[in-house]
């Protein structure tokens, strides 16, 4: 809620400031260069928000106007009538066509298209290429970061686990920081939402998802510029696992409640007309819950990155003694808020997952509502 409000506030400020600059800009040097910078920034943000096939740290233009990229290529894995593996350096950041086994591929907006030897793309009326897209299982920047995060988590938490046996049940080093969080997730997320009897079963998932989202959110704030949790495919995958876990561990009561939400409080002929509406709503809710989960995480991280990068971009647009420090200050403040948002979103995702697991593993001891029993 608060995040949305802040977003709107900052958006308003941004609009106000940029409008103010327009007036000045027109007087000084005309509209053209500003629009150039603006479109460049917009393109840059768009590019950053997308996954990429190589890990670029930064790029600069030399005196001749030639663009240099600093980073390292990642392997591209395609399925196009057979497995094709090659380095993403062949694309030259989308500038050239990659020839592999007699096929030609071209990179456009982080997507790989099959082309002819010249790399011609046929665009439709919305500027989307109509060329064939091979199945792309490349180890992209996001996959690479997921891998790194996985390794980091594995190293961190196995060393924490080992420190218990070595150190007589007392954590050591970085484990001292993470142990209270583990206990917090157990005592304040899993136990109250799922219940004392069944929470143990879900603990590994809740812990993994919390630290996974949190770490990736934090990585997104580093200058490495990875936007993994702000990627719809990642959040879909996470929400899907929550969805599957919820429904595969669902008890009889959970399914009964889904198809018979009123229970024995009403005779069947009374329930029938209500159920024509109620049951579809309940079924829809089944899918809306994880959908809200995935959109919430995606939108929050995406919005955070857009705001932050726009504010940084404003510095280059303003170039004035007032505007640039102001947007720097704002960018700094937003960075701090984003650190909070990073942990908050991880918390919300974990919390809601625990809540859904709680619904699914609920067992009613009293089939009838005691308040309605006397009616």
């Amino acid at each position: 809620m608060q995040n949305a409000f802040l977003f709107r506030l900052l958006f308003a400020i941004t609009l106000f400031l940029s409008a103010g600059y327009f007036a000045n800009g027109q007087e000084d040097e005309g509209k053209e260069p500003i629009n150039d910078i603006k479109s460049e920034i917009k393109e840059y943000i768009d590019h950053h928000l997308k996954d990429s096939h190589d890990f670029s740290l930064f790029s600069w233009s030399d005196a001749n106007g030639e663009l240099h990229h600093v980073g390292f290529p990642l392997p591209v894995i395609l399925w196009d009538g057979g497995l094709k593996v090659f380095s993403s350096s062949k694309f030259h950041h989308g500038e050239t066509v990659a020839a592999v086994d007699g096929n030609y591929y071209k990179l456009l907006h982080s997507k790989i298209y099959k082309t002819d030897a010249e790399g011609a793309l046929s665009l439709d009326d919305q500027e989307h290429p109509t060329n064939a897209k091979p199945l792309d299982f490349s180890l992209t920047k996001s996959v690479f970061m997921i891998f790194i995060t996985g390794l980091l988590m594995f190293w961190l938490f196995t060393s924490l686990a080992r420190s218990y046996t070595k150190n007589g049940s007392i954590p050591k080093g970085i484990g001292r920081f993470f142990e209270p969080i583990v206990i917090y997730i157990r005592d304040d997320i899993a136990r109250p939402n799922i219940g004392e009897k069944k929470y143990r079963k879900y603990m590994p998932y809740l812990l993994t998802i919390f630290f996974f989202i949190w770490f990736l959110n934090i990585f997104g704030l580093t200058p490495l510029g990875v936007n993994v949790t702000g990627n719809i495919a990642v959040t879909v995958a996470l929400a899907l696992i929550t969805f599957l876990l919820t429904n595969f561990t669902g008890t009889k009561d959970y399914w009964k409640h889904l198809f018979d939400p009123l229970g024995a409080t009403m005779p069947w002929y009374g329930k029938l007309p209500l159920y024509i509406i109620l049951v579809p709503i309940e079924l829809l809710g089944l899918f809306i819950k994880p959908f809200a989960l995935l959109i919430r995480l995606y939108a929050n991280m995406q919005a955070g990155h857009i705001v932050l990068m726009s504010l940084i971009g404003l510095m280059f647009i303003f170039k004035s003694w007032l505007g640039s420090p102001l947007s720097f200050g704002l960018a700094f403040a937003i960075s701090l808020i984003e650190i909070l948002v990073a942990v908050l979103q991880a918390y919300i995702f974990t919390m809601l997952s625990a809540l859904y697991f709680g619904f699914a593993s609920e067992e009613h001891e009293h089939p009838e509502d005691p308040e309605l029993a006397h009616l």
């Binding site: 996985g150 594995f154 686990a161 218990y164 049940s169 879909v236 996470l238």
Partner: protein, 166 residues
């Protein structure tokens, strides 16, 4: 919505699902289970230790109370014993005093009786001796008297004279 679908990358989705599930399984086996077990064990240990401490405290309290009680009892017993001893002592003293008195009285009485009988015997003896002495004296006197005939005759005459007077 169309933008979202357009942005959705199947490859990333597959990798994310695969890597995440792998991470979940690995962490569950090598991290979360040992960590949660260790934490549980430690909490259980702390709980047990606290309970044991509480119990020990209670025990300690009981022991103190017990020793206090024992001490009190011992003190009372000692008091009682002392009192008894004193009583016995006093009784002994008074008893022996009485005995001594009785004995003394008896001895005094016996002595008095002995003295009395001795006295009687002595008096009888003295009487006998006095009688014998007087008899002897009388004998001697008579012998003397009788040895002197003239005197005898004179005495007889005197006595006869006395009788005449009567």
């Amino acid at each position: 919505m169309e933008k979202l679908i357009n942005e959705f990358s199947l490859g990333l989705f597959v990798w994310q699902t695969l890597l995440f599930v792998l991470l979940l399984l690995l962490l569950r086996k090598f991290a979360w289970k040992p960590i949660l077990n260790a934490v549980n064990e430690r909490e259980e240990g702390i709980k047990n230790a606290l309970e044991a401490a509480e119990l020990a405290k209670k025990e300690m309290h009981n022991v103190t109370a017990d020793s206090e009680k024992l001490l009190k009892e011992a003190r009372a017993e000692r008091e009682l014993m002392l009192k008894e001893a004193r009583q016995i002592k006093e009784k002994l003293i008074s008893d022996s005093k009485e005995q001594a008195k009785l004995e003394g009285d008896k001895m005094i009485k016996q002595a008095q009786e002995a003295i009395e009988s001795e006295k009687k015997a002595a008096v009888a003896e003295i009487k006998n001796q006095v009688a014998e002495l007087s008899v002897e004296i009388a004998e001697k006197l008579i012998k003397e008297q009788l040895a002197n005939k003239d005197k005898q005759l004179k005495l007889v005459e005197e006595m006869l004279g006395d009788i005449k007077l009567n």
